[in-house]
């Protein structure tokens, strides 16, 4: 075998191993979500700010907190969760995230906590604004800003943990979902995608072997 053949074979084998390993991991699932009926903007800030929300629960095994914060080039954000005055767990996401959902990983929790306070700190320097989404509520149950003032409602907070099902076991479900909302219904989409990926890998490999000495 030539060096190129060895490199190609090793590279392709590595891809297969990595794909198998990835599909053998468990999908993250929502362990608990705020029971909110709508998703509305409850606050907008152009400066560093903190918002705390009481009356939350934290299931055991939680490994990330998903917040509905929106920014284009997001600033550093920190989440701290308190039980009374005791800091249960905290996590941080650096600058540069984009979108309207921010997932902040935290140290996996060994047990559940009831009635915790979730505090979110945004480290802005007066450039881009950050929007916080949730549901409008009465001020008495709304999240509170750092100065104690009530926001327009409660923040959307979701607790994430690793699921029990691997991607392999979800394959049939994913294939079914791919059959909806697309031009060719049913399993054809899955078959087409798989056939195309195999064809791309085969044609590319053949070209490498033909052209590279």
């Amino acid at each position: 075998m030539s060096r190129v053949q060895v490199a190609l074979a090793a590279g392709l084998a590595l891809i297969v191993v990595a794909v198998v390993a990835t599909l053998s991991t468990a999908r993250a699932v929502v362990a608990r979500t705020s029971p909110l009926p709508a998703k509305e903007q409850i606050a907008i800030t152009e400066h560093s700010a903190t918002a705390c929300q009481a009356g939350e629960a934290l299931p055991g095994g939680t490994s990330a907190i998903r917040l509905s914060l929106a920014a284009f080039t997001g600033p550093r954000a920190t989440v701290r969760i308190y039980s009374g005055s005791h800091l249960v767990v905290q996590g941080e996401r650096g600058t540069g995230w984009t979108g309207s959902v921010l997932t902040i990983p935290v140290r996996p929790l060994a047990r559940s906590y009831a009635d915790v306070r979730v505090c979110v700190s945004i480290d802005l320097a007066g450039d881009e604004r950050v929007e916080i989404f949730g549901t409008h509520t009465k001020p008495s149950v709304a999240a509170l800003a750092g100065n104690g003032q009530a926001l327009k409602g409660r923040m959307q907070i979701e607790d994430m943990r690793p699921g029990s099902r691997t991607w392999w076991s979800l394959a049939a479900l994913v294939a079914r979902h791919m059959g909806f909302g697309n031009f060719a219904g049913g399993a054809w989409n899955v078959v087409l995608v798989l056939a195309l990926v195999v064809a791309i890998a085969a044609v590319s490999s053949r070209l490498i072997l033909r052209e590279l000495p």
């Binding site: 080039t73 650096g94 984009t98 979108g99 309207s100 959902v101 991607w167 031009f183 044609v203």
Partner: protein, 536 residues
């Protein structure tokens, strides 16, 4: 195709022309039909010769280049199936533009009519497209009842009856060429989702052209190691962001292809000289680019600089004939643009529409705008105000975006993948620099050509920066999206070729194979990421 071979190919045609021209005129008494037949025969023969010339030119393209194009088409087709309808930036708007053009023959006018047609709104609603967009917690429709509702929305849609004007939102300001071409697949029929897929497949063909021209560009620009051309062309064909954008309805797909063709023509002209044919090609490509997407204007200063340098060189070596080529290129490229600008200025509008406003200062001084544009790409230098607090733009906006940001910029890789990707990126950079250093003497002789590519790149970056500055600080970097840099894909192809060559003669092909495998892996895992995001 070398200059010599071009001459060879054209010589017989010229002789034939000459012999026809030397024929005595037909006698007056000759019947009219025969005279007409004679007049028609010449253009027919001319057409036949052009056709043969084109076929010969196409035959001279290496088979590897066609295979790269095929891989890019297959890849974009795969992305077109994988990405849910309307989950690509601005796809609903571009679809609306095509529909308006196809059904009414008129361009959309900003602010006139609703953003989308009733049919499109119904389907978007049934797909829950706005609930999915930018909200990672939401998946595509997943139940039979939702699918049935979608089918009803698709059947309710009666496109032929919808001729009311729509404004198409952000797409309205774009020139019409891509949309006019997309009107063909749109008109092939079926329901809205069928037409959307046909339009996406047309974009996929343009993705193939992009890979083809990247291959041809690296062949002209870096002719030293033919095996390495495949590394550049194939890696670009597998580049997931190209597949994602070329698997969608978006004029970016055509912009990438036209830009790659422009890089190829410039490289070819620098290698072989500016002929009249190449001058026409450069001018025509400039026009096509400007009629495709306004972003092309960022490349124009570099293109004109290139034409100027090539024209002066041709003038020095071929005298008046050389300067004539310069004139042809500038006339073909420049005159319609000048007429367009003159008409707009005469009607008291900005010369180039949205581009004029993009480069105009809206707030602050020119120095502040330049400082902003600098920091959008590079670390701040002492003395500049800080426009991106705590954000390392080169890494967090551009590199992380290059690694992967799909859907409506709502489908990134985990942060650890972006960090891991720094390792192969650094290796590729080191190998490329090694190749550049070892061939610096050859590079010195091509400084003018390099300067042209640099001006094209800087022009595009400047345009993106100026447009982003318009909405700053409401949004830090609205146009800080890697897809806007993809007109520079040929330069990435060149970097990858240099990286393979930088590993040396012995290990170069191995490094090249690994670079291609890296891009294949990048593509596969990007698709898995999208799969998990939308269907998981």
């Amino acid at each position: 195709m070398s200059k010599r071979s071009t001459t060879k190919a054209r010589t017989p045609a010229s002789k034939t022309n000459g012999s026809r021209a030397a024929r005595p005129p037909a006698p007056r008494a000759q019947p009219a039909p025969r005279r007409q037949a004679g007049r028609q025969a010449a253009p027919r023969a001319e057409r036949a010769r052009s056709w043969l010339g084109l076929r010969a030119a196409l035959r001279r393209i290496p088979r590897a280049a066609w295979v790269c194009a095929l891989v890019a088409v297959l890849n974009a087709a795969c992305w077109s199936i994988l990405t849910p309808p309307f989950q690509v930036p601005d796809e609903p708007n571009h679809f609306a533009y095509v529909k308006q053009l196809a059904l009414t023959g008129h361009l959309p006018k900003p602010g006139v009519g609703p953003e989308f047609s009733n049919e499109e709104v119904r389907v978007i609603d049934a797909l829950h497209a706005y609930e999915i967009r930018e909200q990672q917690e939401n998946r595509t429709i997943t139940t039979r009842s939702q699918q049935n509702a979608l089918q009803r929305a698709l059947q309710e849609g009666e496109p032929s009856s919808e001729r009311a004007p729509v404004s198409t939102g952000v797409a309205a300001s774009q020139p019409p060429l891509y949309y006019a071409l997309e009107a063909v697949p749109y008109s092939l029929g079926g329901n809205l989702l069928d037409r959307l897929e046909l339009m996406r497949l047309f974009s996929a063909l343009l993705g193939g052209l992009t890979a083809l021209f990247v291959f041809l560009f690296v062949r002209e620009a870096l002719p030293g190691a033919p095996w390495a051309w495949t590394v550049g062309g194939l890696s670009i064909a597998l580049f997931p962001l190209l597949g994602f954008m070329s698997g969608a309805v978006n004029p970016d797909a055509m912009l990438f292809a036209v830009s790659a063709a422009m890089f190829y023509c410039l490289a070819r002209a620098f290698q072989r000289g500016l002929t009249a044919g190449m001058a026409v090609a450069l001018g025509a490509l400039t026009l096509i680019g400007l009629a495709t997407k306004l972003n092309f204007i960022g490349l124009v200063p570099g293109v004109f600089l290139g034409i100027l340098i090539l024209g002066v060189r041709a003038g020095r070596s071929h005298g008046r004939a050389g300067y004539r080529s310069l004139g042809i290129a500038l006339a073909v490229a420049g005159s319609p643009v000048a007429v367009y600008a003159a008409i707009r200025l005469a009607s008291h509008r900005s010369a180039f529409g949205i581009v004029s406003s993009g480069v105009a200062l809206t707030h602050g001084s020119l120095l502040k705008e330049l400082a902003y544009i600098w920091q959008l790409y590079l670390p701040r230098v002492p003395g500049m105000s800080n426009y991106f607090h705590g954000v390392f733009t080169a890494r967090q906006i551009w590199f992380d975006g290059f690694v992967g940001l799909y859907g409506w910029l709502d489908t990134p890789f985990p942060a650890w993948v972006e960090t891991l990707a720094l390792i192969p990126a650094a290796l590729i950079a080191i190998l490329s620099i090694r190749a550049i250093v070892s061939s610096r003497a050859a590079l010195r002789a091509r400084l003018a050509e390099l300067a042209v590519y640099v001006v094209m790149g800087v022009g595009l970056l400047g345009l993106i920066g100026a447009d982003s500055y318009l909405v700053f600080p409401t949004l830090n970097a609205e146009f800080g999206q890697v897809r806007y840099l993809l007109p520079l894909l040929p330069l990435l192809g060149a970097v990858l070729v240099l990286a393979a060559r930088g590993a040396g003669r012995r290990w170069g092909p191995v490094a090249g194979a690994l670079v291609v495998v890296l891009f294949l892996a990048h593509d596969i895992f990007s698709q898995l990421q999208v799969l998990a995001r939308f269907y998981g």
